[in-house]
Symmetry: C2
Subunit: 123 residues, 2 copies
């Protein structure tokens, strides 16, 4: 059938869809070199004052602030206010689901043990 059937049974369900959206949201927050740079910087130094990040990244302050907002909104970093500065640090737990998925791929895990329906065998 060429028309998409509306009555598709959600075999993977709402939970799986929500999980996919959550994983995609984390990946999206990491999907920019400046934000990867910020994460790597926070990994190195554990925590950083915002203005140091601005210096390191080399973009306009408003742009860096926006990247930090995106990372905060995704829950990947937290900002502790120390007026007039803000001290940023990582929230590792937020990265765990994506890290687990990638690790599963690297380890070749078959999560569902549903290996019966392999379309074509790996070479």
């Amino acid at each position: 059938m060429t028309t998409t059937a509306v009555t598709r049974s959600p075999s993977r369900g709402v939970a799986a869809a929500a999980s996919e959206e959550s994983l995609a949201a984390v990946a999206k927050a990491l999907a920019h070199p400046a934000r990867i740079h910020i994460v790597a910087m926070l990994l190195e130094k554990q925590s950083c004052i915002g203005c140091d990040i601005v210096d390191e990244i080399g973009l306009a302050q408003s742009t860096v602030s926006e990247h930090l907002r995106i990372l905060k909104e995704a829950g990947i970093v937290t900002g502790q206010i120390e007026r007039p500065r803000v001290c940023y640090s990582l929230n590792p737990e937020r990265l765990r689901p994506l890290a687990d998925l990638l690790k599963s791929v690297l380890d070749g895990d078959r999560r569902g043990e549903l290996t019966g329906s392999i379309c074509c065998p790996p070479e």
Copy 2:
């Protein structure tokens, strides 16, 4: 091997910037629920015929094809042609750098041992 000099000169950059762009590119390819779904599907079944993916995702064939193109272009999946079908499978190695970064965050690694310049101590 000393990749990171203490200088904050802009020439920190070529290798590190390329790495950040590469990591960001992988994250970007994963930054959509449908593409996460495809990766999870390929993880479960090792490999899949494209039309099965179209059925599972529930978007238009052209849209799914576009998502597969993005994943292929990022090097995350490979497509083996078996006319008229294409058999897709994962390329785990492409995910390794991002997986390593996330693991470092989860493990609390300080990659550069440059812990001297902590702005404010973790709580």
